[in-house]
């Protein structure tokens, strides 16, 4: 089939659509009134939530009545926890800013690029979080423990083993399922888009 034939078919189809299509404005009006509120965008909501995470974190500390013991261990813990928390928070803000930039009325290529950048940012954020999380967790534990006693008793160390196990399995799954592959693919996609824009 030649494109001209396709064009002819298209004209006929277009004509049929305009002749045979009517809108029920009342139903559509009701849909516009009710649906947008129900159409939550979970990614936006979640990233918005992470912006307020410090407040939630502080409220959580008050609710759980977490006691800090100001000692050398506390400061060591703070020195480990605070930088990690700040870095991950900055990345959360970056991600939130990128999400807010997504606009469906952008040219197709621009939107594709924004989406690819967003995915890239998400992957970086996840990777960073996994790499730094052990330091943050250790730091937090050091901040709340009264004195540092080390026991080699297997039973008392079970919670710690479980935490490490959960963390390692989660890290393994995230990294194994092609986080690097996706990253490479995204970079390639962005390069391709940039090339197309310049051509």
């Amino acid at each position: 089939m030649e494109l001209t034939e396709l064009q002819e078919l298209w004209y006929q189809y277009d004509k049929k659509i305009s002749e045979n299509t009517r809108l029920n404005r009342e139903i559509l009006r009701l849909m516009l009134l009710s649906k947008p509120q129900r159409r939550f965008n979970w990614i936006k909501i979640w990233s918005g939530f992470s912006i307020f995470s410090p407040v939630v974190f502080i409220i959580g500390l008050f609710i759980l009545n977490v006691q800090f013991y100001i000692s050398i261990t506390f400061y060591i813990g703070l020195a480990m926890f605070l930088p990690v928390y700040t870095i991950t928070y900055i990345w959360d803000i970056q991600y939130f800013k990128l999400i807010r930039k997504i606009d469906f009325s952008m040219p197709i290529l621009t939107l594709r690029k924004e989406i690819a950048q967003l995915e890239k940012c998400k992957i970086k954020k996840t990777r960073l979080r996994y790499l730094l999380m052990p330091f943050a967790m250790t730091g937090f534990i050091l901040m709340i423990i009264h004195s540092f006693k080390f026991s080699l008793n297997f039973i008392s160390l079970i919670p710690l083993y479980l935490m490490i196990l959960v963390f390692l399995s989660s890290m393994y799954i995230t990294f194994k399922y092609s986080i690097y592959e996706r990253f490479k693919k995204l970079n390639k996609e962005i390069d391709g888009i940039e090339k197309l824009e310049k051509e």
Partner: protein, 167 residues
């Protein structure tokens, strides 16, 4: 402008351009249910961005952009491992606000021809078939005018080859 006036203005625009939504959604969906769901998605995306539409581009350019971007993301939604932008918890809805007597067989042949093209080429050819100029296609897609012309020439060839094997 009151909310009601704004809604009426939007409905007028939609009424005049509903064909764009039907044609684009048809090109990016495989089943009738998907198509209806996609038209609903596009309509709601248009409504969401209507407030920020400043009239810097033609209304049709804005509609094409939103329709194509939504359609491309709608496809992403069902692909594993991609970002979800639209609410993935919603149920497919009945498109009761469009009254249409459409003969499916006509559009089936049309869409069969463009179905194997990649998303971007599909968008370009749908815009081309809808009589948009190269300049307009360039504004909607973000690709340069020269590149649009080159791509159209390549797509023509691709369609010819596909037709030989399929139709």
């Amino acid at each position: 402008m009151t909310d009601n006036q704004k809604r009426d203005q939007f409905l007028d625009i939609l009424e005049k351009n509903i064909g764009i939504l039907i044609k684009i959604a048809g090109g990016f969906s495989r089943t009738q249910e998907d198509k209806e769901d996609l038209i609903n998605d596009i309509t709601l995306e248009l409504w969401k961005s209507f407030g920020s539409f400043r009239g810097e581009s033609k209304i049709s350019t804005w509609i094409y952009r939103v329709a194509l971007n939504t359609s491309m993301n709608y496809k992403r939604k069902s692909e594993k491992g991609k970002l979800l932008f639209l609410d993935d918890l919603k149920q497919p809805e009945n498109l009761s606000w469009i009254i249409q007597q459409e003969d499916q067989s006509d559009s089936e042949i049309l869409y069969k021809c463009v179905d194997e093209l990649n998303d971007l080429n599909k968008a370009i050819i749908l815009l081309y078939l809808d009589s948009n100029s190269h300049e307009e296609i360039s504004k909607i897609t973000g690709i340069s005018k020269t590149n649009v012309a080159t791509r159209i020439a390549r797509i023509k060839e691709q369609i010819r080859n596909m037709a030989l094997t399929k139709i």
